[in-house]
Amino acid sequence: MSDIKQKPLINRYQTYDFVTRGVIPGAIDASHGTVLYLDDVNVSFDGFKALNNLSLFIDDGELRCLIGPNGAGKTTLMDVITGKTRPDSGSVYFGQTLNLLEMDEPAIAQAGISRKFQKPSVFDNLTVFENLELAMKTDKGVWTTLFAQLNGEQLDNIGRVLETIGLAELYSQQAGVLSHGQKQWLEIGMLLIQEPRVMLVDEPVAGMTHQEIDKTAELLLSLRGKHSVVVVEHDMEFVRSIASKVTVLHEGSVLMEGTMDEVQNDPRVIQVYLGD
């Protein structure tokens, strides 16, 4: 873990010029090294502020852990990024050019942001294989889908992922009958096969055994560099095993950001989150 190069903290109070420059649609431009920009985002539900002037920046290829008390707004943050929830104010960019607030869920997903949900959501009536097939990265238009045929490479891909998530034997099972943990894995598999630029992973190891947790950690670490990964998890051991940089959310804003050690020893974090 020591070989992870530590990057300096980003100054959250600086306003980057791309935010003010207006939108240029097109490919993801991460030339500044940052893939996800959230600036001054506010979300409230019936007066309750779930996100409060939140600013967060995710680097290209980075593996970021997001922790924070229950209800701090982690899931809401992912909802904002994936287009499920529209913030009251603030800006959210993918790369320097894609304004996520102007895109809907499928567009965001196609642009390369995928997500694993907190509560495992797989398609109960489809088999494990078909679940992966649907998630797979391809053209997702209606007509292409209608005439889509799996080619060898894609089949291999699915096979590989099936191995990775340990469901190779169950590939023809309907996903509905899987146990909780198996569904978690399947959903991770669906995430992998989308080959996204950014992965948002909400509580991946809930309901997994130790060994599986380790395996997940391994998996996530192996993705580093190729994908930017944002992981939300309450399992500190797990977080410790993967984290390079940790962001702590509290009451809708960033409480602190730093290495695991910094975070663990921060009195505020201990008070609101970790406990002694």
Binding site: T82, E105, A109, S114, S121, N125, E130, A148, S172
Partner: protein, 363 residues
């Protein structure tokens, strides 16, 4: 790696064989054998079977949206009726001067209510090709506009069901109005011929039955193909978990729209085949109760299985024919009881019964 799916091969094959037999053999029997022969099928049976097959096609179309895409459309009858009207208008124009007033242009019902000229939307229907086009375009277009609005706004579940019902109800009221120029309550009747052939001749009837049979087979194969493609799986997935599909990058509304329009077109074709065989099209086809009945056929047959829809439609309607003649006073009891028993004891309809018999695990 073989992919499994809801549809089962054996049953599909059986139903195809059955359909092919009906389509080819029965009309031939009607034409070849003399009326006394045991193998003879009367014109009555022919038109009856023809009607069942159009209903089967209609049920098939509903099963696609409801069984596979989860859209409980309570207005499927509207598309059916529109297709029927398009065909009816063609048949009306075919009457020419043979109407009772002998007006070369205006249908009878317009003449005695002093219409002076043909409304614009009747133009072109004297061409068979144009009418055929309209048979698919009109229901398709309506489904497209309606679906586009509804799916884009993410109207789902019962909300969608009820507005489809509102749609067909509104059309019912509209078509009832004499001023609409579709014959009001009486609808369009008294057709003479189609493509110059007398509608009441045995050969034409047999042909119509064959056409319907082929249309049904084609539609069945097409639907089967659709549900087996990846699109079919996307649609099944979004039936169960719509928002998740969206997060995978699929434009859910487009998929729904595609299925919805496709199904509306099938329903329209069914309507167009229905009209020349029963000889009348009138607004009651738009009635919400009719659309509800279609749902009942599909449910009886087995929602989510294409052959089930076909079996359901044929069974229920055959039952209706027999019972309304046999037990005219109490047949509704039988029908009602059948609906209740099927739902309670055969959760997956007749298709489920079949599946269970064969020991296939229910999904």
């Amino acid at each position: 790696m073989r992919l499994t799916f809801l549809e089962n091969e054996t049953e599909s094959r059986l139903i195809l064989i059955a359909l092919a037999t009906i389509t080819l053999v029965i009309p031939l029997c009607n034409l070849i054998f003399p009326a006394e022969s045991a193998l003879y099928f009367s014109a009555y049976s022919i038109s009856l079977i023809g009607k069942y097959l159009t209903f089967a096609l209609l049920a098939l179309s509903l099963d696609l949206v409801w069984g596979y895409c989860g859209i409980l459309a309570l207005g499927q009858g509207a598309f059916f009726a529109l297709g029927g009207y398009a065909m009816g208008m063609y048949l009306m124009r075919q009457i020419g001067t043979r109407g009772v007033y002998g007006d070369p242009l205006l249908p009878d019902f317009m003449v005695f209510l002093s219409w002076k000229e043909l409304p614009w939307y009747w133009l072109g229907f004297d061409h068979f090709a144009f009418a055929l086009l309209m048979v698919v375009v009109v229901p398709g277009l309506l489904a497209f506009v309606f679906g586009w609005l509804a799916f884009r706004s993410r109207v789902t579940g019962v909300y969608l069901s009820i507005i489809t019902q509102a749609l067909t109800y509104a059309l019912l009221l509209a078509f009832f109005r004499n001023e609409m120029g579709f014959g009001g309550n009486n609808g369009l009747t008294d057709f003479k011929d189609i493509l110059g052939f007398n509608l009441q001749s045995d050969a034409v009837r047999a042909c119509l039955l064959m056409t319907t049979g082929f249309a049904l087979i084609a539609a069945f194969l097409a639907c089967r193909w659709v549900v087996k493609t990846k699109l079919g799986r996307v649609v099944t997935a979004l039936r169960d978990h719509e928002s998740r599909v969206r997060f995978l990058g699929y434009r859910v509304e487009m998929f729904k729209l595609w299925i919805f329009v496709f199904s509306a077109v099938l329903a329209g074709i069914a309507g167009a085949l229905y009209v020349p065989q029963v000889g009348i099209i009138n607004p009651s086809e738009f009635s919400p109760l009719n659309s509800l009945e279609i749902v009942a056929w599909v449910a009886v047959g087995g929602r989510g299985s294409l052959y089930g829809a076909i079996i359901g439609a044929v069974m229920v309607n055959y039952g209706k024919t027999v019972l309304t003649g046999l037990l005219p006073e109490i047949w509704l009891f039988t029908l009602g009881a059948m609906f209740i028993l099927v739902t309670v004891f055969l959760p997956e309809g007749l298709a489920g019964l079949w599946r269970r018999k064969r020991g296939v695990k229910p999904s």
